[in-house]
């Protein structure tokens, strides 16, 4: 039972077959047992979790509460939580305790979830393997010698190992979908502006998007219901009527048009990944969908565009870490400028510094037009490709990543190789449209393969429906790594 989905756990909680305290205690025991291996959590708070669980049980005893009441959850450590430290997996914020909750944290709390802790990640969400964490790398439950993906690797690994049924993540260039794929779970990047960024420690503000991780698409819909909504504290949060993201889950796929961009099926795709995607597409055809070949001629430029825009925005956002108001301050320094330089040199890891330097360079005098403006223009070309594609199809599918999980250390020496892992995921951040990764098979080494389903802006309901129908017809989402069996 402890490894069940949110929807199943919610039923058991309401039928009193299980209490939230029992569920939470059981999961805390599993976290205690396995976290030393996986390093998925940077902070665990059993006392607070059990207090939350007792409160949830009281609500359930009255016959109140919703589908998330009493469900244990973890938050990526880039989302701030009042009363529980929020480190961003950085020495810079090792002891930082936010005075407030992030909007999505508050939404999930109001929905009755039980917070067990904060998950490990790439430092400041900059990475694709969760190896740049100040607290050491996260390991993949399917093979602890491999990375779980990143940057939200702790959240993904925790769910894959069934340490929690749900977790939050953030996705700036693939940081929800790529770890979901490499860890064999579901991860949704909602449309930009649907979930408030308030309390998300900013990396690249025009791309950062909070979203849910879970075992199933249905669970992601339940979580998104509690995370979405207008928030005046985020100037880019959109005012839209509230919607129920589960509303279309029961609908048919008859007549659904799936676009297959030729650029997602070319060279560089591992043959096992290609085979798993082909089998998934065959399943969708059986479910009544048809596939259409489409073209996204500029999508290959996503990576260079991203590595101008994201570092540029990061260099500006991370200038707030100066050792004055919060965060690390060097022990020894001379004048004020020296205090800044030393505090930032000590507080940030190598990848974060690299991106700040790239961003500083592209925004520096004389280079703005050649880099930042150029990247914004190419961003428009990529977005226009998607506008044309979505005139012909309802969703776009392809592999989430070119390969399954890679070994720890395999790409840490070569940033550009690491960056290329996000070649299929970055475009959805540039366009702002929703995209989901679901498990759809395994490679020759028994590592999971992810299928990416991209939708039109604000069409999460369709993306989730498509994934849900697939999960009703298949059982990839129910596979779990044997080593961490409950």
């Amino acid at each position: 039972m402890i490894a069940a989905s949110i929807a199943e756990l919610a039923q058991a909680l309401r039928a009193k077959r299980l209490s939230s305290v029992e569920l939470t205690r059981g999961l805390l025991e599993r976290i205690e047992r396995y976290n030393a291996t996986l390093n998925a959590f940077v902070t665990i708070d059993p006392q607070r979790a059990l207090a939350d669980a007792r409160a949830a049980d009281a609500v359930l005893a009255r016959g109140d509460g919703g589908p998330l009441t009493g469900i244990a959850i973890a938050h990526k450590d880039v989302l701030v939580t009042a009363g529980m430290r929020s480190t961003c997996a950085s020495r810079m914020l090792e002891n930082y305790v936010s005075p407030f909750d992030a909007h999505v944290v508050a939404g999930l709390r109001a929905a009755g979830t039980v917070l067990v802790g904060k998950t490990n990640m790439d430092e400041f969400a900059m990475g694709s393997s969760s190896e740049t964490s100040y607290f050491g790398p996260v390991r993949n439950p399917w093979n602890p010698g491999c990375v779980p993906g990143g940057s939200s690797g702790g959240s993904a690994a925790a769910i894959a190992a069934r340490l929690v049924p749900a977790a939050t993540g953030t996705d700036t260039g693939g940081s929800i979908r790529q770890p979901a794929a490499l860890s064999g779970i579901c991860g949704l990047k909602p449309t930009y502006g649907v979930c408030s960024r308030y309390g998300l420690i900013a990396f690249a503000s025009s791309l950062d998007t909070p979203g849910p991780f879970a075992q199933t698409a249905e669970d992601c819909a339940l979580l998104l219901n509690a995370m979405a909504g207008h928030d005046p504290r985020d100037s880019t949060s959109l005012e839209r009527p509230r919607e129920d993201y589960t509303r279309a889950l029961g609908a048919t796929l008859e007549g659904l048009r799936i676009g297959l961009p030729r650029e997602y099926f070319g060279d560089g795709i591992d043959s096992d990944v290609a085979a798993a995607i082909a089998a998934a597409l065959a399943e969708f055809r059986k479910l009544g969908a048809k596939t259409i070949d489409i073209a996204l001629p500029n999508v290959k430029l996503s990576v260079p565009v991203y590595y101008v825009i994201a570092p540029a925005e990061a260099s500006s956002n991370l200038s707030r870490f100066d050792g004055v108001r919060y965060g690390h301050r060097a022990a020894k320094y001379g004048d004020l400028a020296d205090m800044y330089r030393k505090s930032r040199a000590e507080g940030f890891g190598a990848e974060v510094k690299r991106r700040i330097l790239v961003g500083t360079y592209v925004l520096s005098h004389g280079y703005y037009d050649a880099y930042y403006l150029k990247a914004q223009q190419v961003r428009r070309l990529i977005a226009d490709d998607f506008v044309r594609a979505f005139a012909q199809c309802d969703v776009i599918m392809g592999p989430t990543t070119p390969t399954a999980a890679f070994a720890l250390g395999a790409k840490t020496g070569d940033p550009v190789q690491m960056y290329l892992n996000d070649i299929f995921t970055i475009a959805a951040n540039l366009t702002g449209a929703p995209a989901l990764s679901i498990p759809c098979g395994f490679d020759r080494n028994g590592l999971p393969v992810g299928l990416q389903i991209q939708g039109r802006a604000f069409d999460e309901a369709t993306v989730l429906k498509v994934a849900h129908r697939f999960q009703q017809a298949t059982d990839w989402h129910r596979r779990r790594p044997a080593e961490f069996a409950p």
């Binding site: 690390h328 004048d335 700040i356 330097l357 190419v378 428009r380």
Partner: protein, 95 residues
């Protein structure tokens, strides 16, 4: 175009990050590889293309110009490395 060690020191200064001479070479080499990838963009024809700054074409909302936040200075300063009498302490700036 390649990144020089002088470039590294210039941008490290702008970014207020101390980089000593022993690190500068490795930083330079990694940045050079990143810019080789980024420089693919230079060949793309973008004449007349309107830059896309943002995913949604919406204008920023305005609000009434009045104070909405309570005074929570003590709480906020609890996270600061050094404070005294409600002020953030930094090395002496003015002699």
């Amino acid at each position: 175009m390649t990144i020089s060690v002088a470039d590294v020191h210039r941008i490290a200064h702008l970014a207020r990050i101390e980089i000593d001479a022993s690190e500068a070479d490795e930083v330079r080499a990694k940045l050079d590889a990143i810019f080789a990838m980024i420089n693919e963009l230079a060949a793309i024809d973008t004449v007349g293309v309107v830059p896309m700054a943002h995913a949604q074409d919406v204008s920023l909302p305005l609000r009434e110009d009045r104070v909405t936040e309570a005074d929570r200075r003590a709480l906020y300063q609890a996270d600061a490395p050094a404070v005294e009498d409600g002020l953030y302490l930094v090395p002496k700036v003015i002699e």
